[in-house]
Subunit: 361 residues, 2 copies
């Protein structure tokens, strides 16, 4: 563990995060939802989307009046299996949770449900909403646009968000299959990780405006901000290793997020006015849920049992590493680095949440 | 153009391909459907899925009794938005076309439709079915499993098919957005292309059983057949360039293709008993179709107008290159290489289709 990093238990972190959201002006029920999504990221080891974002992405933006702590969710249009909702730039996590609830409700009745959302804000980990469906015996799909960072194939300009395209399926194992990933190779948070460790980035993850690949993480972070560097799509630079496919999937997510609700897209996106989409498909409309779970589990077990590459310890399936991390963190708590420690203390003091004490002070 | 390659016009090729399918025992209407799908691949320049497959994949398999020329399609289960169909190993293209028709019908009524198919055979280009929906103002999604060729991350064993995950959207342009791609970096057909040209494969597309990357296309083709080499998932080898994402999407397609219909999967797949899935989503359930088309067109035009990488001529969007190729081939015909020429002559002679003459004989 890096210098200064301290583990904090969920029994301490959970009520604190809840109180911060309440202190920001969220109704109790909404504060619970936001704390759920945020802490699930910490539990699973998705540290780029956990408490480290509480201050910069949620607390600061609400304080600055960019997004509203009270979420008004309007129905723009509704059909038997579909809906368009307007989140009025409330809390993205509340908007997303209610949207997936509506998808599930519709899918339970008619087999499928889909909701497109306009005017939303950062909703945390997309996989949370896909897994909401999987936990209830449905297939869950979720995605969102985001501020521009991916360059199209043969371009150097950040145009598309990291645009996750996520799927979750029920299985007969302890955890659902859950693919929650950006359509870029890496995300900004990963570059920050290399910067903190003082390590060079591998080549081929980032493209600079001169067409070269950036490997100095401090320079890359600066250039990503100024638009002088962009993330490469899954598949990498040019066409040789099929980067046009990752670029294609990022575009699919941009279209699904914006076009169904006539919303903002590409360069017009900057933290608010986001578009999302959610899909739920009821497995029991096709087959017995237990059969689906069993077939899916068999596929996953077969994949893990494949012949390993020389030197490889283990073959994983999507969601497995996060599940293993969650088992460890449930017991040991979340590692919190020094800069996040200071943010937590600052919010605590500003909101006067005097009953909360941290192990790092 | 390579030695011996001859252009053949669609006005000549179309009735010939139709007659071959009829000669194989397909009903007239089904022969039309199969010819449509096959020749669309040739028209778009997707030469790995066109007439070059007529003999090895369709003619030979029907002759060998592996799949039936007469397609019996049974409804296993049906709900308001969903269905499971059994193709009884008839013609994959007929099964797929009818499945997407059913999705569109359901989506036109209730907003969404999804069909899972069991016991099907090779259905040609997945994008054809997604575009069926897009041409009628719906979002189309299609996918299929296939015989094992992709190795999971940290494995060297071919486990997953090239498992395409395709999306098509209506736009206000001359052609729909259409992302029709395998979840591997390349397909076997691409390796064959390198072998024909006598060129080395770029590193990082294929993994051999010793964990190294294969670059000699003749060796790779042999090793892919014996299972001593496997295709790498989109994103490449290991985790550094996020190959686990391509592996994850290939798994998503395997699960969607098999688990909803309790069908065969992974190593059990070999040309027949394939599983497919099709989804149609009616745009007009969310917004005016023209608004959707316009937003989508604006997204695509913005992407093409992005800052180009030094030395790059053009930024494309998914489906654009295929559209440009189709404009050229409509006029100039399809380039047919010598081995395919011989196959066409052989089928013509075996079926006694004496009225057909080719420019290469």
């Amino acid at each position: 563990m890096n210098k200064g990093v301290k583990r904090v238990s969920f029994s301490l972190l959970r009520p604190f995060v809840n109180d911060v959201f309440r202190g920001m002006g969220l109704p109790d029920e909404d504060a619970d939802v936001c704390a759920d999504v945020l802490l699930e990221a910490d539990l699973k080891g998705l540290d780029t989307h956990g408490v480290n974002r509480l201050k910069p992405v949620y607390y600061d933006r609400v304080k600055a009046g960019l997004q509203s702590p009270v979420t008004r969710l309007d129905v723009v249009r509704e059909g038997p299996t579909t809906a368009v909702l307007d989140g009025n730039n409330g809390m993205g996590m509340v908007i997303a949770k209610k949207s997936m609830d509506l998808c599930i409700e519709k899918a339970k009745e008619l087999g499928m449900g889909m909701v497109a959302v306009r005017n939303s804000t950062h909703f945390g980990i997309a996989g949370h909403y896909a897994e909401m469906a999987a936990k209830r015996g449905l297939i869950g799909i979720a995605g969102t646009n985001a501020r521009p960072s991916i360059a199209p194939t043969f371009s150097v300009e950040p145009m598309l968000g990291t645009n996750p395209l996520t799927f979750a399926f029920p299985s007969d194992e302890e955890f659902p299959f859950s693919l929650d990933c950006a359509t870029s190779i890496i995300q900004r948070g990963k570059v920050e990780l290399f910067a903190r460790k003082g390590e060079e980035l591998p080549p081929g993850l980032v493209i600079r405006s001169d067409g070269s690949t950036g490997t100095n993480p401090d320079e890359v972070l600066k250039d990503l901000l100024s638009g002088e560097a962009a993330l490469l799509p899954l598949g990498g630079m040019g066409e040789e290793t099929a980067g046009y496919k990752g670029y294609g999937y990022a575009t699919v997510v941009e279209i699904l997020s914006a076009s169904l609700q006539s919303g903002y897209f590409l360069k017009a996106i900057n933290g608010v006015n986001l578009g999302h989409f959610f899909i739920a498909i009821d497995v029991s409309a096709f087959t017995e849920l237990d059969d689906f779970k069993h077939t899916t589990g068999d596929i996953l077990r077969s994949l893990r049992a494949a012949r390993k590459a020389p030197g490889a310890d283990c073959i994983y399936t999507a969601g497995e590493k996060e599940y293993l991390t969650s088992l460890e963190r449930k017991v040991k708590g979340v590692p919190i680095n020094t800069s996040v420690q200071l943010e937590l203390i600052q919010m605590r003091d500003e909101l006067g949440l005097i009953k909360h004490r941290f192990p790092f002070e």
